[in-house]
């Protein structure tokens, strides 16, 4: 066998203060192969890869490239070794054009934007990307931004590509395209590492799977010889069951009535167009749709965070009385006495304060209840402990700044806090985005528990399989309109997929 091994990591250890993020990890990455890196949230995947891309320095261990030991001190040196990484949070300059971003930091003589534009175009052609090199990044969609990242790495001649959760924010169609590109690159002889929590993607695209657990290397298996169940067991370290049960709630009552809700954005474009539906207690109402079809605006409008042009949103009390909440601020809505909780899409922006610990973030939600002027820390810290335990948050202690937690653990803190307030209406946007499979199921079960407690749960999701398993009914949005409401027990994926796109085609003609 010829030497296909591009990178070998031997005994890599990395600590952050008292946190051991990587504990003596061995990993080899081969050319012409796609390696999936799998592990629970906080198991150290991003950290491990950041050591290849020069962001972090290992505390201990060796990195070999083509059998020779190398030291990577900075991202620049990583490029020198042909290693390029596409980060979980994109690293792009928003006010620059795509081409400017691509040539950023390259020291090849004069700045020649024209030549760069041309070269970007030729890379796009070779791998089948669709981006305009002269477009500013802030005008781009997420998937276009990601494409820019990939082009950037290819432009620098990387032969070893690392993608950290590239599909987390992509639609299924975009994911398909990305995978086609990865296949192309693999044929080109590049070595590819992809981190993802979606096991179906692992099975679809990878050749081998390496598994990490709590900072330790568990092993590498051939994708063809394994199954999602086996991988999950490896990841978690014990046998876990992957199914969602969907109990029926006995006595559903109206909880949230929405009628003809219309919202415009700043430019006056309709984001929601006479949306009407009703959510019941003891029900998980799924909201499906291509991303950007108005899901975000819908939830924010209900929470009192998005201006409403027309329509009515009514909360129904336990005695059957209806309260109009259009035009009320979130504080006023809270004063209606009907508890509402919202897990937003933008976790660190809208949901949590990054520099505070879990306790501080729990406090944010409950401080209004406290009497007197002194902050009471006891209750929130008890709550933090509870969330930590129930959701198995990986953190050195409850006062550790949440920004430093791994992506998935940040989400757990937010969901845990929102559920703890025992809301009557619980809204979640992409609640499991970036969460590992085990935690995702924990969240599904928690939502189901909430439902059985009698809450009306609004679940905006992107994975249709999960929506069909978890929800009771599904509202399908398309271009800001309700394309229809289906019973999740009988509907099929194809049916919903069709509804998600149907309105667009009608308008396009």
């Amino acid at each position: 066998m010829e030497n296909r091994c591009a990178i070998e990591m031997k005994g890599i250890t990395k600590c952050f203060g008292q946190v051991v993020a990587n504990d003596s990890i061995d990993l080899s990455i081969n050319r012409g192969e796609i390696l999936a890196l799998l592990g629970e949230n906080g198991s150290g995947k991003t950290t491990l890869m950041n050591m290849l891309s020069g962001i972090y320095q290992p505390d201990d261990g060796r990195i070999l490239k083509d059998g020779e030991e190398i030291y990577i001190h900075s991202p620049r040196e990583a490029y020198g070794f042909g290693i390029g990484m596409i980060h979980q949070h994109y690293k792009l300059i928003e006010v620059f054009t795509a081409a400017q971003n691509v040539i950023l930091g390259l020291n090849d003589g004069r700045m020649d934007l024209k030549a760069a534009n041309e070269k970007v175009r030729s890379i796009c052609q070779r791998y089948g990307f669709e981006i305009n090199p002269e477009e500013k990044v802030y005008d781009m969609s997420v998937s276009q931004k990601q494409t820019v990242e990939i082009v950037k790495v290819l432009y620098r001649g990387a032969e070893i590509l690392i993608l950290d959760e590239p599909t987390a924010v992509l639609t299924p169609q975009e994911t398909k395209k990305l995978f086609a590109v990865l296949e192309n690159m693999k044929k080109d002889g590049k070595a590819i590492v992809i981190i993802t929590h979606k096991l179906n993607e692992v099975m679809e695209v990878s050749d081998k799977v390496a598994v990490l657990r709590k900072g330790k290397y568990i092993g590498t298996v051939n994708t063809a010889e394994t199954s999602p169940q086996a991988l999950t067991d490896m990841m978690v370290g014990r046998a876990v069951t992957l199914n969602i049960d969907r109990p029926k709630y006995d006595n559903p009552k109206k909880k949230l009535v929405i009628e003809n809700l219309t919202c415009l954005d700043e430019e006056g474009v309709k984001k929601l167009d006479s949306v009407s539906f009703t959510a019941y207690t003891g029900e998980i109402l799924g909201v499906a749709g291509i991303s950007g079809s108005g899901q975000k605006e819908l939830l924010e409008a209900i929470a009192g965070l998005y201006p409403i042009k027309e329509g009515s949103i009514r909360l129904v009390g336990n005695d059957g009385s209806e309260k109009e909440i259009v035009g009320l601020t979130p504080k006023k809505i809270r004063q209606t006495g009907i508890g509402m909780a919202f897990v937003p899409e933008d976790r660190l922006g809208m949901g949590l304060v990054g520099s505070m610990g879990m306790t501080g973030n729990m406090l944010l939600r409950s401080w209004k209840k406290g009497k007197g002027i002194l902050v009471r820390k006891k209750e929130p810290s008890e709550l933090a402990e509870k969330v930590l335990e129930e959701l198995e948050v990986v953190t050195p202690d409850i006062n550790f700044p949440v920004r430093r937690l791994s992506g998935g653990n940040v989400q757990k803190v937010l969901v845990g806090r929102e559920i703890a307030s025992e809301p009557e209406v619980l809204m979640t946007a992409y609640a499991v985005r970036g969460l590992d499979i085990n935690t995702s199921y924990t969240i599904y079960n928690l939502l189901t528990e909430e439902k059985m407690r009698g809450a009306a749960v609004l679940y905006v999701g992107e994975d249709l399989d999960v929506l069909l398993e978890l929800a009771d009914r599904i509202v399908v949005l398309c271009g800001g309109q309700v394309a229809g409401t289906v019973d999740a027990r009988t509907a099929t994926k194809e049916e919903i997929g069709l509804m998600m796109t149907q309105f667009n085609t009608k308008e396009g003609e």
Partner: protein, 328 residues
Amino acid sequence: MMSTIIALIVAAVTFGTVLMYGTLGEILTEKSGNLNLGVEGIMYMGGAFGLAGAFYYEKAAGAAASGPAAIIIAILAAFAAGMAASAIYSFLTITLRANQNVTGLALSIFGTGIGQFVGEFMRVSEGGYVALSNNLKEAFSATIFPKVFVNIPVIGNILFSHTVFFYLAIVVAVLMYLFLKKTKWGMYLTAVGESPSTSDAAGINIVKYKYLATIIGGGISAIGGMVYIMTTAGCVWNHEGLSGVGWLAVALVIFCMWRPLNAIWGSVLFGAMMIMYLRVAIPFIPTELYKILPYIVTVIVLVLTSMKNSRDKQPPASLGNNYFREER
């Protein structure tokens, strides 16, 4: 009437020149993501050291002292003082990652103190009065254009009667514009100010860019202080007139939306607003009201630009934040 307006414009340009240096320097600094609130102190130091440079030069050279040499020495002395002050700031914020606001405010206090000290020290040690000879004073406030140009009616005074510092400031503004827009290094500097982590991942030496931009920016700002002392204040130490100028320059950076070319007309406009109370005094309106005009205008600009929400008119995205590679 006409002559009043011309006089107003000329005076606005004179004061505006001071602001222009302060602002241009701060624009360069802020482009790297460093919010240096020490401009006030830096300009004080520039004023004191600029004066000292010219004064001791004349003392040493005696009758042989030449105007151009004095000007160059004053510029260099002020520039060096500004660089030293912002080098301290850079070390504290970039290397030691101290809070930028706190460091900037401290530098403001420190710089005004040092400026005062040097100014007073010179005065006392030289027996109560520090001033250049009339010859050299003349050189600092003379225009570089021949009389024929200045004598052209109306535009002669408006365009050609200013000091060398005004024209130099315009050259600096244009060069800075070309640097930021047309060169690779300018693009990298912008990138550093927008997102250091991105620039770092792209292989740019963040620390180098931040240090250079902040230190050179500080030097440019300091020249403004010198220009004030050597022109408006008539080559004597005058701390009162200089007070608040640095803060005005910081506001002007916002007004200019971080674009050097805007600083040219922006500083003349601010200059006009600041001297209006001397020229067009309306009875019963206290002069302080005039003096807050520039700040009010800045607030209005801020409100307008954030309402428009145009991405190209926003401050550098990482302005005020320190960068540490392993922090997330």
